[in-house]
Chain length 569, copies 2
């Protein structure tokens, strides 16, 4: 069973569910016509099916290794990477001024999902480069842009992001890496960074690190952090990588999954770097980049969910156990059918949320309207946390569908679960996403959330006649989560955070139902998407009730359980 | 952080929650006094802390391997196994007539949980032997019993169970291994079996296989299966292993976890075996053994949940990230507190269910009362499926608490999740447990379930004054699941099975709340267990509402989603 690009789902979602036509009708994205969109997705899908998916297993069984200070990637990765670069797929949303195609992020999002599904270990590499392109585009000098962006966009060079240190993970403000000014305007970077994804690759001419570090006498915490560009090889004025910079990969981590993606400990020993953006403005610059990266990570989860679903459905249609009718395979067992239908319905919902998020980002960029920006900001932590939670849940269901074979590594089902697991942790843990949603993203008094829930209600009301059962349930759930939102914004942060994970999921449940309903409406209330929507609304949406109870429990009962209670065995 | 045996929890549960005093007051188990019970648990706990836990990591990093046809176990496993055997811990519930201690299964259950928590890979070995002891005790001739049981109980020999074949997993009736009668009354066993846990071990004198096979001209399906005892070495009349039997380990599986536990493909090439029980009575014999083995597997999940909880709490109390009060560590973050409190509360609930299950089994044995047997039969699939689901869920939360470090294998958090994952699959997948619960175990019209729910209601009503909020919620939930049960038994099997997994979890939620409430009542409504109970009832119990909706959805909406719908991408 090999991966097939879910082109019909993308096509349907873009045309009928998430309002991509609005993006297409803006001036900025007028080139992203229907034909162009289809052609792009078909081509990218072909690359994922034919080039990336075939190397995915080798990425697991023959991990990237460090030898002589250089990373050697898994078999086939170098060739697959070059195919991505050659096809122009590193970053289709990159600015045309520097060689990019300037396509909507919505298309980039679909492509990222497909690449993640096909080979997550390798996809991480261009995804990090995408973030770097975005950061440089927004914050770098024209000189740096002119020198670096064309190389990054073409894939000749790759980009990394260096945030974490051993004492500074989620608490970025605790980092201690230093940057000392050199006489020529550059900086000497001194420190050690951990968890650096694709910190090196033998198949590119240069690896460019964006490093968070502290200038001398900078204020403590996040206000004293600056961003520096630190390439492995120092380019000359024409962009030819010359002198080796004084940085090195110390070691690679031994991880649960993503063995094909080298996770490096990096050491900077007075390495030469260039300041990007303002002094002490590193956090702001980083957030520019991280926002879209969060959506990208959400798509990694969704890609794995899709791959796991396809694998499980294929297995369930092949495996014969017990006397059943229909196909004569285990897919006729009700509990197996429940599992694969859940996988399918969850994947669809998470994908729709992510694409709607991308549409909001594109619309904000194209129109400059604050409402779109607020919508995008609201959806980003949901896309990330929910997309990756679903990715892992669906991959685990996939193992279960395979029975005993799911536990055997050769089957490949376990690899998907191992690979996707970290997406719930990196780029801000899912707990941090939920805090972001209920804290910062509710600083508007919940306006963006309430506006979105009103749209959910309006659509549900519009389908009262055509799809009465489904729309009634969606409307009820939207009302309940709307009430919850109004309650939530009245609470102290501590109480919001006590229920933040449950709140995020409750909202995601309602949004998932909303997009399923949209699909059913577009289908005229009959057809495969209507059947899947009915399944989602009947079986998965009701979870919101339990989640609401959790949110409302607040912090009191939580902190009643003392540290001592927890320590006693 | 090393494992600590949860002795205070066991002590409290046995004394105040699951009614172990009733077992102690039977004649059969009169020797299991309070002092005896404490001494047994303390000693077993010490073995787990000092001997088993220290070898657990090596079981992961240096897998068992096959060399020269023999399995060589992970470093330290041979010594640890000998310590288990020497201490008399292989099977404390084994019959005194053959050298066992004849202790209640309830104590065996607690010991199994601790051994699983300390080193699941190795614990599998005595757990399989326990099953074999039970099967031989119930079905073997006196001659076989006299020859084999003392060796198995002392741990000089180990036992395995051979069910699965490549075309016969959950569908045992499809197996094709043959047994041909020899002239001397023995049988020649011919066939290949897969997934044979601890199919060989270099540290024992003999490995005894219980093999399901077909006699010539036996009826098809499960009615034509017989059980055979097939030792690696044929013992002489005095029990000395002599001639090598014609069976061999063909290969070991490469698994997601449990690397220290060799999972063998076994080949029987006219190996000599002895019929156990009646011709074509293999399934009945197997079910005797599997019932208690299912409880044992549930305890494996609970053990891992306990180990993961301890590890996560220790990490959360050590790790400093962000500005927080109290301990100054991440345990003060509401979402982290939520995670570790959930781990603790889930582990307690699953443990209470398993111990109550064991008490019912002991009571059935000691009193012969049908009500206890029905209670035991009802609780067994719940202990197995819910215990292992919680084991995996809690281990996954443990990874999340560790953040980025949770994804690094050296931390050990990921190993717990990988190791426990198969417990949801083997000994009957959790889906099969749920089918058993809603099918066979409801063949009594739901009597056993309704009787249990009535006890839940009665206890909740009794606490209306002392613990009004908590008891009210438990009573409401019990009523809702009682109504659901009455509805369920009216449905066709296909509809029951469509909601079986949700039903099992809904019932487990109510039972978990019931035992938490019992703990709070026993504590007089104030103290650590009351606080944890309040947390469980407020946050985790409400899930039952969503589960009820899933159960009630039945099969229609499920099979509306067609195979074609699922295949389309």
């Amino acid at each position: 069973m090999s991966y097939r690009a879910p082109l019909s789902d993308f096509g349907f979602l873009l045309s009928h569910v998430v309002g991509f036509d609005r993006v297409q009708s803006t001036e900025l994205f007028s080139e992203a016509t229907e034909d162009m969109t289809t052609a792009i997705l078909v081509e990218a899908g072909r690359l994922c099916e034919d080039v990336l998916a075939p190397v995915d297993r080798a990425g697991d069984t023959v991990p990237a290794r460090l030898d002589g200070g250089q990373v050697h990637s898994s078999p086939g990765f170098a060739e697959a990477y070059r195919a991505i670069a050659k096809g122009g797929w590193i970053c289709v949303a990159a600015p045309p001024a520097h060689g990019g195609m300037g396509l909507p992020l919505t298309l980039q999002t679909a492509i990222n999902e497909m690449m993640s599904a096909a080979c997550l270990s390798l996809q991480l590499n261009p995804m990090l480069t995408q973030g770097q392109i975005e950061a440089l585009e927004a914050h770098a000098s024209e000189e740096i842009k002119a020198l670096y962006l064309p190389k990054l966009i073409s894939g000749e060079w790759t980009g990394t992001m260096n945030l974490t240190e051993s004492g500074a993970g989620s608490d970025v403000g605790a980092l201690v890496t230093r940057a000392e000014p050199n006489e020529d305007g550059t900086y000497a970077i001194i420190g050690q960074k951990i968890y650096i994804t694709w910190g090196d690759a033998e198949f590119v001419d240069n690896v460019c690190h964006l490093v968070l570090a502290r200038l001398p006498d900078s204020p403590p915490g996040t206000k004293g952090i600056s961003l520096f560009l630190v390439p492995r090889h120092l380019p000359d004025a024409t962009g030819v990588p010359c002198a080796v910079n004084s940085l090195r990969v110390v070691s690679l981590e031994h991880k649960l999954g993503l063995h094909g993606s080298p996770t490096c400990v990096m050491e900077y020993d007075r390495a030469t770097g260039w300041l990007i953006g303002d002094e002490n403005g590193g956090m702001a610059a980083m957030f520019t980049m991280m926002n879209n990266a969060r959506l990208g990570v959400g798509c990694q989860g969704i890609g794995i969910a899709e791959a796991a679903t396809q694998k499980a459905v294929a297995f369930a249609l092949e495996r014969k156990q017990g006397r059943v009718g229909g196909t004569g395979t285990i897919i006729e067992h009700p509990d197996v059918r429940r599992m694969v239908a859940t996988m399918k319905a969850e994947t669809f919902a998470a994908r729709a949320i992510a694409l709607a998020n991308a549409v909001a980002i594109d619309m904000a960029r194209a129109t400059g309207e604050a409402e779109w920006a607020a919508r995008a900001a609201l959806l980003t932590p949901i896309s990330k946390a929910h997309g990756t939670d679903i990715g892992h849940e669906v991959a685990q269901i996939g193992i279960q569908v395979h029975g005993g074979m799911g536990y055997i590594e050769e089957t490949g089902a376990a690899q998907l679960a191992r690979d996707v697991r970290v997406t719930q942790i990196y780029e801000g843990t899912n707990g941090i996403q939920a805090m972001d949603l209920t804290g910062r993203k509710m600083a508007d008094g919940g306006r963006a959330a309430l506006a979105l829930l009103d749209e959910v209600t309006a659509q549900a009301e519009s389908a009262r006649v055509s799809l009465p059962a489904m729309s009634g349930r969606v409307a009820d759930a939207a009302r309940a989560v709307r009430d919850l939102t109004e309650w939530l914004v009245q609470q102290e942060l501590r109480d919001r955070f006590a229920g933040c994970t449950a709140y995020l999921r409750a909202l995601a449940r309602v949004l998932g139902a909303h997009f399923h309903l949209a699909a059913a409406i577009a289908e005229g209330g009959t057809g495969p998407r209507t059947r899947l929507a009915a399944f989602f609304v009947a079986r998965l949406l009701p979870e919101h009730g339990a989640l609401i109870a959790q949110v409302k429990a607040g912090a009191d009962g939580l902190f009643d359980v003392t540290v001592e209670d927890l320590e006693t065995t």
